[in-house]
């Protein structure tokens, strides 16, 4: 399959010539590495789409190990939901807010430590909100959203380190986010079910029951 003759490079659309199997729906992985999914990719250097560079003018690309714009956006959105759900709780939202800022800032820089700190801030914010008595429904939403934000942010950082910002990772990020959103939904539904069932009984009973379940679950399944 050697090709000695020159082919017009600008017309190759690899998404439509995938050998073996059908190509995935275009718009994500079907295009070349520059893929235009329109999610604030930014920072692409002009003139380096690799198709029609005059010789000698293109620079070697380096791995840009920061999370992609898509991942940052999803994590930011979910984190915002988590913090917004705490709004009725008053000043408790401050901790979550700081965490959100750190999360988004860290993702834009690709600084894993700051992202971890941000996630921790979100989670501690949930605890604080629960401590001051946020209504259970909002608290559950906030907790679930924080967990999803944790997942999406870590995924974005990991993708940035291994695959880089220049590559098209939107599909992988969306699928992954969908997975953890599903888990979150199931978890919230289960918790709410428990809440509705045990509501009205003595707090102590509920407390001991749940504490026991938690401890057992943590240990036995670990």
């Amino acid at each position: 399959m050697s090709r000695g003759e020159e082919r017009d490079r600008g017309e190759d659309r690899p998404g439509t010539t995938a050998s073996g199997g059908t190509a995935e729906t275009p718009g994500t992985a079907g295009e070349d590495g520059e893929g235009a999914t329109g999610t604030g990719r930014g920072a692409d250097r002009p003139g380096d789409d690799g198709r029609d560079d005059p010789p000698g003018e293109a620079e070697t690309v380096r791995l840009d190990a920061r999370p992609s714009g898509t991942g940052t956006a999803i994590a930011g959105l979910v984190g915002f939901v988590a913090v917004a759900a705490q709004a009725p709780g008053g000043p408790a939202v401050a901790v979550g807010g700081v965490g959100l800022v750190a999360l988004v800032g860290g993702l834009r820089q690709g600084a894993r430590r700051i992202v971890s700190l941000g996630v921790l801030g979100l989670l501690v914010g949930v605890l604080v909100a629960g401590a001051v008595g946020l209504p259970t429904e909002l608290l559950l939403v906030s907790a679930a959203a924080s967990a999803v934000a944790w997942d999406v942010a870590d995924q974005a950082v990991s993708l940035g380190e291994q695959v880089g910002r220049r590559a098209d990772t939107a599909r992988a990020e969306f699928v992954h986010a969908a997975g953890s959103a599903l888990v979150a939904t199931v978890a919230v539904a289960a918790a709410y079910l428990v809440f509705r069932t045990v509501a009205g009984g003595p707090v102590l009973a509920l407390a001991l029951l749940l504490l026991g379940a938690i401890l057992l679950a943590s240990v036995l399944r670990g």
Binding site: D53, L127, A147, A172, A207, S218
Partner: protein
Amino acid sequence: MSEARGPDGEPPPDRRATPGETLDRETNRWRGVNALSLAAGALGVLLGQPGLLLVAVVGVAFGAFALATRPPDVHVELSRELDRTVADPDERVRVTLTVRNAGESLLADLRLIDGVPDALDVVGGSPRTATALRPGKAASFSYTVRAARGDHEFDPVTVLARGFSGAVERETAVHARGDGRLACTPRLDVGDPLPLRALTTGYTGRVVTDTGGPGTEFHAVREYRPGDPLSRIDWRRAARTGEYATLEFRRERAATVVLLVDTRETAYLAPDADAPSAVERSVAAAGELFTSLLSTGDRVGLAAFGPGAFWLAPGAGVGHRARARAALATDASFAPTPREEPFFPGLELRRLRRRLPADAQVVLFSPLCDDYVVRAARRLDAYGHPVTVVSPDPTADATAGETLARLERQLRCSQLREVGLRVVDWTPGEHLGAAVETAGARWSG
């Protein structure tokens, strides 16, 4: 498939899988979720807030999610397509990689890093991608590389796969079917002709001739002997003094030159990451010189002093030139990255000595950054093969070590000049012809 373990039971991050091998790593990305659930439950109890206990339930659910620690089954088929497999230097070549999920389960988090050859740069797009594939589905991505001299082979693709929870990552390496080689053969055209007379001892003998023409020049006058051709009598002297004398002309004899390129691993040096290596410059210089010498009627050969020990005996003609061009472009002995094979310099030097024609002179291309090459050059010279050294300078002076290396190299040049070898010190960015002229000025000055 074998699994490899590092010191604490897990392969280190920079260990790569070989094709057919899988490496599993636990990412620990959910670490702490159980502890946080615990904290929430504890706080809920301490503060009497049932809401927090429910938060703990959510946390436990995620903790269970995180326990999916079975690595995914990775069966992928990869195929690579290059938009050309033969290119000129600096041409852009587009590489397209297609991945198909040939297994039976969903690959939720699939990351690919293509094995771009060592000596090529990526100038557009990204050789990496991340995707999610249902069984039977495929995806592709492309990027652009800039072609450089050599016969480049693509390495296996690094494949990283995780499940939905991401708790475990499986790494494998998969060869891609389809185009796997890119060959790039520079032309051996010469811009300005090189000042060759400075480089080779063209006058290897005094031959009296009655033919004139290019390459002859006046040499001496001697007494007339009966039988000398009339056209060679110095008539001016005869008119002046009445004595007959014969002019002697000297003809340049075609030289036999062997171009010897230092391709040992120690010769692959560069002043910085973007500059061409000394071997690269040596190969380019050897190509230029080969063509120049052939065009002046000399017989030229080519050899590599390094693993592979390439040898092309001195010759002439179009076919010979083509062989040399092909070898300098794509032979493994002149590869753009060093070879891993063992090399025994003493043995190779002896073999070289046996192969060199008796009247051959040697042009050695070497950065002169180690002491052995100096000994080798002197030995060849002592064997009766005049040696000229063309030395691309890979030194820098940013640190003390680099300055010292630069100084040591200058000392080696000096050592060689001291015993009569000619050394062309070729700085980066300088045109080879200019360097030869500069050096030549001190030789015949």
